[in-house]
């Protein structure tokens, strides 16, 4: 009896949690304009037209490409630079390291609206508005603290003796990092890169407000423009949402175990 109750509760909770995703898929595959007439949960006549029209009628592919470019650059740069900072914070007990740590974590937790406003003012002066570079720089400010914090976590989990041994075996400190520590944290680096990539991919605030020209928008910025213009049309919104979310979901589940443990050490999404 207890088992049945348990299973019933589990199934009910799972249905509630999964329903919005299911509904998103159903809506996306409903012929344009028909979603208002849906009266059952189980859909009939499904179509892929909505996805096709995104590509044909809107610059969706262009936006996805911009997103990929921005996210790769922002996450890649943050990873390389963040790695060296994370290593120093983990291994070199220098004066002020705690302060750096606090500041790094704090800058990661600052709401992006607090950064958006001064950054907008700065970019206006520097002529970086309406450029991809501006968006990349903005996203580095979101991703870099995360990369530092996470890479520190991964280095912390390595026994320090390994680098001690390497140094006695003829490595400089840099050599010990390169030949011993780096190969061992490589799986962690993938997780850091994906986190950074996803953070940049998901953000619409910076690309939407730094960039006016639609063809420089990222997918996130493009997606948010669907609300308003097409407010009453559910189907393209949902189709675009799926296209937008799909790479992120795939990445997450592909690296599921690592992402989960990374989020436990890093303590953040």
């Amino acid at each position: 009896m207890a088992r049945i109750l348990h299973m019933a509760a589990l199934v009910a909770l799972a249905i509630v949690v999964a329903f919005p995703v299911y509904w998103m898929i159903v809506m996306a595959m409903t012929p344009l304009g028909f979603s208002r007439q849906i009266t059952t949960i189980i859909p009939t006549n499904l179509t892929f037209d909505n996805f096709a029209s995104l590509v044909v009628e809107r610059p969706m592919l262009r936006w996805l490409w911009n997103s990929t470019l921005v996210a790769t650059l922002a996450s890649g740069i943050s990873l390389v630079i963040g790695l060296s900072c994370g290593y120093a914070l983990s291994r070199l007990n220098f004066r002020g390291s705690y302060i750096v740590l606090v500041l790094v974590l704090a800058s990661q937790m600052i709401p992006s609206t607090s950064i958006l406003v001064p950054l907008y003012a700065l970019f206006k002066d520097l002529g970086l508005l309406n450029t991809i570079q501006g968006v990349v720089i903005g996203h580095i400010s979101l991703v870099l603290p995360l990369a530092i914090w996470m890479s520190k976590g991964f280095f912390d989990s390595l026994p320090e003796e390994l680098e001690g041994a390497a140094r006695l075996d003829g490595c400089s400190r840099l050599g010990a990092l390169w030949f011993v520590a780096m190969p061992l944290v490589t799986p962690g680096l993938a997780a850091i890169f994906v986190y950074g990539f996803v953070t940049s991919w998901n953000d619409f605030l910076f690309p939407r407000h730094f960039v006016q020209s639609e063809n420089l928008w990222t997918a996130a910025a493009g997606l948010t423009s669907f609300r308003g213009e097409y407010f009453t049309l559910f189907e393209p919104q949902m189709a675009a949402s799926i296209i937008f979310a799909l790479p992120v979901v795939v990445l997450f589940f592909f690296l599921q175990r690592r992402m989960v443990s990374g989020s436990l050490t890093g303590g953040v999404k």
Binding site: L10, L13, A14, V17, P20, V21, W23, M24, S35, R36, I38, G82, S84, C85, Y87, L101, L103, L105, S107, M109, I110, P111, S112, T113, S114, I115, V117, P118, L119, Y120, A121, L122, I137, G138, I140, L144, I148, R173, L174, G175, N202, A220, T224, F226, R227, G228, F234, Q237, M238, S241, F244, A245, V248, V249, F252, F253, Q256, S263, G267, K269
Partner: protein, 312 residues
């Protein structure tokens, strides 16, 4: 000892000794820290400094003549601005709501799946799925579901015998905040779920065996075995979710178009609706202080625990 060779100082080219210093000497710290600190100063330090400068200025795009003088105007305005404090209050409500909801839902899901053996991966994937959804997508999906006329929620509600009118989920001022909290909880409760699941798995099974031998009911087992063991994780999640809730912007902004003002939305509106960048920066600075405080609590919790772990 005078005849001893002092090692490390043989004749070498300047370049080689600089290289040696950087890769294996005291200079290594500089090598590792200079680029990150420069970049951090550029992408975080500079905007923060600019925000502080703006907050003591009057940069209003519609009235350019005001700018240029050092002034406390914005801070004085902030202290008397009821809307701003209402926004802070709304942020607090939003934070508490999302923390409470995420913890209840996350803990429930973790307790329900902890001992499941069959389709374990499937159940976990289902409960992690909402977290993988970008906040924008969460907002879009729920926006469609919340739609007053055609949304599925109202369609389902209308099937009930005693409901005839549509609920204005996002327009009704007394419903909108809980409605937004539901979306945020749906999107972020998996964080709590993952933490709780890990914490639950770390509890030795013998504790439960001992408790049931001692005659503890399942509820008592939860109260006296489970809860004390996940206390620390609970505290960390609470702070973490508080931070998430405080930062929240996309869900609120996209679903209400900025009509429901939390501190983050108010910051945005001040800049991009009223074009008062100085006042927006002032609100932003206030938000920075709040997040700094939350971070310090988080660090206090985790680092102290880290030290205790290292000592034991």
């Amino acid at each position: 000892m005078a005849d001893l060779k002092i090692a490390g100082a043989p004749k070498r080219s300047l370049l080689a000794s600089v290289r040696e210093n950087l890769t294996d000497g005291p200079g290594f710290l500089w090598l590792m820290m200079t680029p990150p600190l420069l970049l951090l100063a550029l992408v975080v330090g500079l905007p923060v400094a600019k925000a502080v400068m703006l907050s003591f200025d009057r940069v209003v795009l519609t009235r350019p003549k005001l700018a240029g003088d050092f002034t406390f105007h914005n801070y004085i305005r902030l202290f008397t601005d009821i809307d701003a404090w209402l926004a802070v209050l709304r942020s607090c409500l939003y934070m508490s709501g999302t923390v409470f909801g995420s913890i209840v839902l996350g803990l429930a899901a973790a307790l329900l799946t902890r001992r499941i053996v069959r389709f374990r991966g499937l159940w976990r994937s289902i409960f992690i799925l909402p977290w993988t959804m970008p906040a924008i997508v969460a907002a879009m999906v729920w926006g469609v579901m919340y739609d007053s006329n055609f949304g599925i929620l109202n369609q389902l509600l209308r099937m009930l015998p005693f409901v005839d009118a549509n609920v204005e989920w996002l327009l009704n001022k007394s419903i909108v905040l809980p409605a937004l909290i539901v979306v945020q909880v749906w999107n972020e409760f998996p964080v709590a779920y993952i933490f709780f699941l890990a914490a639950l798995h770390a509890i030795p099974e013998e504790l439960y065996e001992a408790a049931s031998v001692d005659g503890a009911s399942p509820f008592q087992q939860f109260l006296f075995v489970t809860l004390p063991q996940i206390k620390y994780v609970l505290a960390v999640i609470v702070v973490l979710l508080l931070i998430f809730g405080f930062r929240a912007f996309p869900v609120i902004y996209l679903l209400t178009g900025g009509r429901t003002e939390t501190l983050t939305v108010a910051t945005f509106n001040a800049a991009f609706r009223a074009y008062d960048f100085s006042y927006a920066a002032t609100l932003g600075v206030l938000a920075m202080f709040v997040s700094l405080a939350l971070v310090l609590i988080y660090l206090h919790l985790t680092l102290r625990r880290g030290k205790a772990d290292a000592a034991s």
